[in-house]
Amino acid sequence: VPEKKERQTVDSGAAFAALLPALDADTDAAALRFERIRGRLLRFFRARGGQWPDELADETLDRVGRRLSEGQSIADVDRYVLGVARHVLLEAWRHERRHPTEDDFEGAVARVAAPARETAEETEAGLRCLARCLDALPAEERELLFRYYTGEGRALVEARQVLAAELGLAQGALRIRLHRIRLRMEQAVRNCLQGRETSGPLRPHSSRGRRP
């Protein structure tokens, strides 16, 4: 793993361009696949306590992209990405143990100093965006979302069982369906908070759910 400052500037756009054709012949499907793989990497690095999950995920994708652009054939991209991610994590651990940098200290201070909870103004802005995005959600999905998240404890579990039975779905299937709605909402709220308006109703993606 290169020095942290260098790692932070890894051009994930180049990796994206190199990886895309290997993931799917269709560009849109390949882009969704790329985002899913990146989401997996974020979960992988976060679970292992990596300090910089975003940077390590991009470093992993960059390495895979470079191998592909060098003409290496990769039969199973998912497994290959996992193998590279494990190497990147090990290198990061060794690097931090042997060569602590000012970034480590500054990062530690920044993490401790960062507020763990948003301000009242941020909460109000978030709730306003959420209300706007809920309005943009198809009525059927909005109702489903409200029902799914209503209640606590045992009552919540039972209400979800009733809801699944009403819809004729297995509980796992209902859970995945709500997960995908929630993903879209979360992304839409993020866009709204960044000043990017949600144009028109929030329709499902054409492919499977994804987490950036």
Binding site: R40, R46, R79, L82, P100, F105, G126, L127, I176, H179
Partner: protein, 297 residues
């Protein structure tokens, strides 16, 4: 969490698995979109559980280490809270009353809560005749205040613990990098033998100008290899270090723990020392009592 398989996913997300189980699970979710979806759904349940205050304390701590230390993680927790607020608002529950999901009650706030509750009761009794509505309003405001105090105190707790861990790591790195030569240190030897563990706390005297405590833990003749150590006070972890190497010396095998003295104010501590490696390991617990003595100049 809905079933054993979900609990396995949560174990993965919070790094509670053995190395082998983790590798198997990673193969599953990296190669199966269905398993990846279920992992994401479990992650959402985990975040919701944190926001509702239903996670056990150990998991709550692990969650906070992983999710509250990055902007992306904090954004996800905030979204979960907003979603709960929106759902509750739709049911007509006022927002200020339904946000008690503070992680845990700080002892000091427990007193404050008791006093506030007593104040509410007294206040309510005074105004029972004719002014019940005002009393309820005041009670709600006090509850809100208590909830804010709880949230603030537990947040301070979390930040102090995180700061202590980071400080410990940074000082350890500085010492490993050679800065230890320029810092005043004190060396103390303690014994990790079972008979010592069962006896009175082992006393360590520290002068106020000492910056680094070099704790030499005698682990016995047969205990070579790599160790992990942790120092706790009142159940809170103040310092942790993996990869501590046992070294043979004239008095037996010992493990050296280099601990920033700023972390140890006078009081009782527990030092946990166990063999390094994947999975749960049996650890020796040593009770220590830190005492301050005048500077030795």
């Amino acid at each position: 969490v809905t079933d054993a398989r979900d609990d396995r996913r949560i174990q993965y997300l919070l790094d509670e698995m053995s190395q082998l189980d983790r590798a198997i699970f990673e193969d599953e979710f990296f190669t199966s979109d269905d398993e990846d979806d279920l992992l994401q759904a479990a992650e959402e349940d985990l975040i919701d559980g944190y926001c509702r205050g239903t996670l056990p304390s150990a998991r709550r701590a692990r969650f906070e280490e992983r999710y509250l230390t990055s902007p992306e993680g904090r954004a996800r927790v905030a979204f979960a809270r907003w979603l709960m607020d929106a759902v509750a608002e739709r049911q007509g529950v006022p927002r200020k009353v339904r946000r008690p999901a503070g992680p845990r009650t700080h002892p000091a706030v427990g007193w404050a809560a008791g006093l506030a509750a007593a104040a509410v009761l007294a206040f309510g009794a005074t105004f029972l005749v004719g002014q019940l509505r005002d009393a309820e309003g005041e009670r709600d405001r006090l509850r809100d205040t208590v909830a804010r105090l709880q949230s603030h105190a537990s947040e301070q707790d979390r930040r102090l613990a995180a700061m202590a861990r980071d400080l410990g790591r940074v000082v350890s790195q500085a010492v490993a990098g050679g800065a230890g030569d320029r810092l005043r240190s004190a060396t103390a030897t303690v014994t990790a033998a079972p008979e010592a563990a069962a006896s009175e706390p082992q006393r360590i005297a520290l002068a106020p100008d000492v910056a680094v405590l070099r704790l030499e833990v005698m682990v016995g003749e047969t205990a070579a290899g790599s160790y992990r150590g942790a120092l706790r006070r009142d159940g809170r972890e103040l310092w942790r270090q993996d990869g501590l190497q046992a070294a043979a010396g004239p008095r037996g095998t010992s493990v050296l723990c280099v601990i920033p003295a700023a972390l140890v104010t006078p009081g009782r501590y527990v030092l946990l020392l166990g063999h390094d490696g994947p999975g749960p390991a049996a650890a020796t617990e040593l009770e220590l009592r830190i005492e301050r003595v005048p500077a030795s100049r």
